[in-house]
Symmetry: C2
Amino acid sequence: MSMLKQETEASEVVAKASLARQAAPRLGWLATEQKNEALLRMANALEAEYESIVAANAEDISRGRENGISESLLDRLSLSRERIAAMAEGLRQIVALPDPIGETLAEFERPNGLKIRQVRVPLGVVGIIYEARPNVTVDAAGLCLKTGNAVVLRGGSSAISSNKRIVEVLHEALRRTEVPQDALQLVQDPSRSSVDQMLKLNGLLDVLIPRGGASLIQNVVMNATVPVIETGAGICHTYIDDSADYEMALAIALNAKVQRPSVCNAMETLLVHEQFAERHLPSLAQAFTERNVELRGDDEARRLVPSMNKAEAADWDTEYNDYILNIRVVSHIDEALEHIRRHGTKHSECIVTENADHAERFLQEVDAAAVYHNASTRFTDGFEFGFGAEIGISTQKLHARGPMGLPALTSSKYRIVGNGQIRG
Amino acid sequence: MSMLKQETEASEVVAKASLARQAAPRLGWLATEQKNEALLRMANALEAEYESIVAANAEDISRGRENGISESLLDRLSLSRERIAAMAEGLRQIVALPDPIGETLAEFERPNGLKIRQVRVPLGVVGIIYEARPNVTVDAAGLCLKTGNAVVLRGGSSAISSNKRIVEVLHEALRRTEVPQDALQLVQDPSRSSVDQMLKLNGLLDVLIPRGGASLIQNVVMNATVPVIETGAGICHTYIDDSADYEMALAIALNAKVQRPSVCNAMETLLVHEQFAERHLPSLAQAFTERNVELRGDDEARRLVPSMNKAEAADWDTEYNDYILNIRVVSHIDEALEHIRRHGTKHSECIVTENADHAERFLQEVDAAAVYHNASTRFTDGFEFGFGAEIGISTQKLHARGPMGLPALTSSKYRIVGNGQIRG
């Protein structure tokens, strides 16, 4: 019985990925207008069918309550007419973005007369593994279809009723368009096995993008044989140099921590030069405390602000995503650079300084997707960068690094035209 | 005892990767001239020390003979003064190439005044896993150092004496340069365990590049948790359309098969339109037979050329790298496209036709790194493309696709300069 169940599950993932694979070429050749038409119909359908989506969502919410999931998770899971309208609006924004497919990336002629042109093409079939938020279903579908990619979505089981209804609505909308319905697939099997299978679908999936918490991402990175774009964890630092302007340093550090602590580009550790700390740490600490931030300091920070808790060794490697901040006092910029090298996750790092040499050293030497001089790490974001969309923030070095716009969902190919050239 | 041995082995790979990791930042910040100086010294040292390298190589050759390895493998393994001079010359060619590091890829200012610049940076530490040819040791070291990357080399055990001596000579040459010796590491442990360890060195290695046969590449792709750039297997097709010019088709097909059958961009299967086949297959087949190519045909091909062997099902999915060619007669371009979709490896594919619509369909619809109209697939090569170097030919869609020049060994980062911006 359990064998049988597993086989049925196996066939759902493989069958849906195969359908997506077959649909991918046709989708890849569609004109921009055809893809945009489909996206607009999807947006309209979501708004027209909002009642049935909210009804399906209510099932997820009530199951979630039964299972005792947290209020903040329930909030992320829950859909309203307004949230559905926002999802539709997100699709319309994708329509407005330029289509990267077909763009010429390079063009040259060789001495033997071969004309070589490198053009942007879709990746093919993109697998997305994500957690509770049903808006990712719409967002990922829109971004993938705009870039000519078929997509296999595997959302969290807690949102399965919402996701099923959303995809039904989107499929219905696609029926009257040139985009094949099969290009959009939702894996409904809620078991861990369906994720495990997706990780190994070489040949059917061209790339996997995990979106969610650290454990989801680690599972995908460590177990997938399909190429992965790692998005993710951010242990971000702000280093306040001795020459920093106090008001600027205060504003940037507060913004990096408390404007939205739950996200990956929020600060987890503040590094403060000892001279700056001597003058300003007490008032800086007070500003955080007033905003309900728990502070955990090293010995020197606690000497200056005795009310601070003590930072344990593991704290420097923890992504709190919460109102908690580590503070370390350093005696030199080198110590700050070394701390970031050891504890950073290559996401976003900031120096606040009026010293141009120190700024340049920091920008040059810190190995991270985004390095800041005198600005909050919270700007690491596709919309803030002006990309008009965001697939996620890549923390790996291959393919894409930092906020990913539509081009991150593309590959390229060389088109070579000759008149009989052969190699000598 | 075996435990102890394994621990010693474990520590070699980890210890060397750690040294490379520590050396990587310093190497990444060197000026182009400093890196070029080191490459030139490496080239000169190889030539000056050729006798000791040839002597070390003789050990590999004699061990290889004892182990009964094939003559063609012995030939690839063997070094002479001329071959060492060619390796040195390869390094000097890398010196002449433009340095991609530091290049500005994009630069823009946001409405809030943030100045964002995306610059090319090294990947960090590159792991290369390869087979018998000791010239890869020099080539990979040169390409990685030029792009500011530290490199951990794990060559085949059959070339270990040659590789050890080569790396000693290169280390000695680096002693008087700004490039830290630790940036170049050779794993000496010849056991499978050292490869297995490299595959999992997340955090110490930024990327793995396998160079070698299909089984080596598959092992790396299927088992690595470190991101991989897949280079590799090529089951390349040439499709001769009904409107093809006979002389051109003959020249291109012969070149694609026999100019160098052992390489990945050589043709394995010839697809011929039935009308062209009816007129020309016998003479085409004869031209291959005269060049000692064994032909394996489908039923229709064998009806036209009865002397042909029969192609078995597995033949269409075999990369022979040898004087063997599959021939299939198709009734329509659609059948050729479908065959390539099923049996191709997304490497290099060619159509020979005088029909512009068919050419465009082929170039558009075939999903491969390089698609050709009226030219031999043998041109898929970094040097033939004018890149001046080649890390390998990527057959994956992420990061790099097709022949990879120096930019494929780089990543990017965003440098963001503000004057106190915070997110609202």
